[in-house]
Chain length 216, copies 2
Amino acid sequence: MAGKVFFSVSMSLDGFVAPESLEELMGPQWMELHAWMFPLRFFRENLKFGESGEEGPDNDIARETFERTGVSVMGKRMFDAGEQMWPEEAPFHTPVFVVTHEKRDPWERPGGTTFHFVNDGIEAALDQARATAGDRDIRIAGGGVTIVQYLNAGLVDEFSIALSPLLFGAGVRLFEGVDASRVALELVRSEQWSRVTHLTYAAHRKARRRSTRISV
Amino acid sequence: MAGKVFFSVSMSLDGFVAPESLEELMGPQWMELHAWMFPLRFFRENLKFGESGEEGPDNDIARETFERTGVSVMGKRMFDAGEQMWPEEAPFHTPVFVVTHEKRDPWERPGGTTFHFVNDGIEAALDQARATAGDRDIRIAGGGVTIVQYLNAGLVDEFSIALSPLLFGAGVRLFEGVDASRVALELVRSEQWSRVTHLTYAAHRKARRRSTRISV
């Protein structure tokens, strides 16, 4: 039985997940957004920085997000940016399905990451991911546009946001283009261990517009 | 000694505090955004709906926000909308300074709310508010544009957001136009008692662009 479809991102308080241009992608704003992760033992181990780093609840969250993931799905923009940035041993260690118009043979990296290029849309990519994930979960890795496509199609079961006390002012918004009339959210949990707030929501298809009334 | 300058709003997960048009202001999205408040005993008492309603931590937060407020400041858009909507006994019960180009005599309402119309900008309005607040705090009541003006001017000490598990998709964004290069945030606390997440941040003037590095 395949697991859940989820995404997990770090978001600024004003709703951004990345700077506007790919040139700034690893710039100071992005670095500050993800600064909570860099000291973590899991993060450093996964990128082969060594077996040192902070343990504790934030580290557990990062590790759990990784370990639950049987397969990842990502958009073309994220792949193109990552292809330039990831170390040779890309930090996924699972199959990764890339939604793209580019036809390309699978690209196998050392460490268990293989990128498969899917040319027939988000649902086909998810079908292939499901067939591969086993009983582990499927992570929609990003970017924002791809996440919103899956969200609007009703294909996301839940998601986590590491909300940073940070303002971007401009950039790529996580929820840009979301169809609010179709996506209902339910807060599953909120956890605060350091300067970021970890929020987990379940996503549902909205049956109809709900209206709330004040009863007097 | 005057107290802190703060704001306190309910925000959707995608960053909105109000619908785009004034016609929808009390529509279903706004109602759902504020739905956490409607059952509260404090809310119902303050609007004279009767002395019934839910007590508990959410109610304590709503009551504390009210009780700390010695004076409110608001923009013209919020006042114009409110003038149509508030009951005769407007729910502030303090002096309210309205930043506007309109020249108008103070407008006194039963129950202790008096609106004063200030024509010379946000700093002048805040000076008048400080002179009136005593040792209580000054609330920038809204709307979003006015809040961001005060934030960008470095005049906000702290703020609270009741983050709702809700997507607007469109509307008035809380942080639209914020100058991210000048405003630094620090998370003071995060509390979860019901379906909304109460986040409190301290705001500081950013001295310089911080850069974060991964040390390898």
